[in-house]
Symmetry: C2
Subunit: 154 residues, 2 copies
DNA sequence: ATCCTTGCAAAGCATTTGCAGTCAC
DNA sequence: GTGACTGCAAATGCTTTGCAAGGAT
């Protein structure tokens, strides 16, 4: 939604140049794929999607490109128990909510209140906190009927 | 620390019986290993540790036992990007802080304030939140000197 | 006696790697 | 022209599985 190829290509080009790496159509296609979706695809899903416009691309290249994007800060790698890694091209602060029934990952906007973070820092005796990640679990509206109650610390 | 074998064995026995499973020395050894440490070991680390007292145990059995414990609610499986799964035998509410330098995972006591969770629920349009998991990242006291600044959303 | 568990070895899967050819700069 | 990148295929490493023997209830 609402991100033309030109815009994401330019952002990618800048990020790559900043770290001495080259702009390639494979990397551009992978980044465009991430930037245009909110489904948090797996590497394989990115591969299948990108291959439609770039039939020759290999899965290994998709993996390498995703890792490059993560290195540039243009994507985040998400891991949930048992599943294969998923990638997120959004860079604004938000959390992730994973449906225990269908596995889909939804974005939840916002950050944890600064006071809360401060309290955590205070409790984290000796550990210097530089970042955090909050993963919610539960049931999406589609799956709610089937899902029963679940433990609080999923 | 401070948990005799008898105590953890009993707890395990009860949890297993409650779900119609059998108490075995392999499962007991695995659970004792988790209950007596705060290092959040990988399956392989549990295997190496348990093997000292139970030389015949196999890695596959350790994996199966860990999964059984998770199923009983006596352990939690933790996954961090790129690393193999780690297991946590603590059942009281707490968060995890992973050192970006050495990979160690420390426990941070406490929960997120209920008001904060409520705010998240409000924002999670259509999604029914049943649980959450907070992972902090940063540098432990041992590694701090080597670690530089890091992005806020690690 | 029943049928759940174990241990072994093999299989499975996601991800990574080595390398020759190709391409961006 | 040069060094980085790609595509292929093989390799890696964690985890799971099938099955016969062993063990808990």
């Amino acid at each position: 939604m609402a991100m033309e190829a030109d815009s994401s290509d330019l952002r990618l080009r800048r990020a790559l140049e900043a770290s001495g790496q080259r702009f390639t159509e494979q990397r551009a296609a992978v980044y465009r794929c991430l930037a245009n979706t909110d489904v948090h695809p797996t590497a394989d899903e990115v591969f299948l999607n990108v291959r439609e416009g770039l039939p020759g691309i290999s899965l290994a290249t998709v993996y390498k490109s995703l890792e490059t994007l993560v290195g540039c800060g243009l994507a985040v790698k998400l891991t949930f128990a048992d599943e294969s890694a998923r990638y997120d091209g959004r860079t604004d602060p938000h959390h992730h909510a994973r449906c225990l029934a269908c596995g889909r990952v939804a974005d939840i906007p916002g950050e944890i209140a600064e006071t809360e973070i401060a309290a955590l820092r205070r409790r984290s005796d000796g550990f210097t906190v530089t970042g955090y990640r909050l993963q919610l679990s539960g049931y999406c509206s589609t799956c709610l009927p089937e899902g029963g109650p679940a433990p609080v610390h999923a």
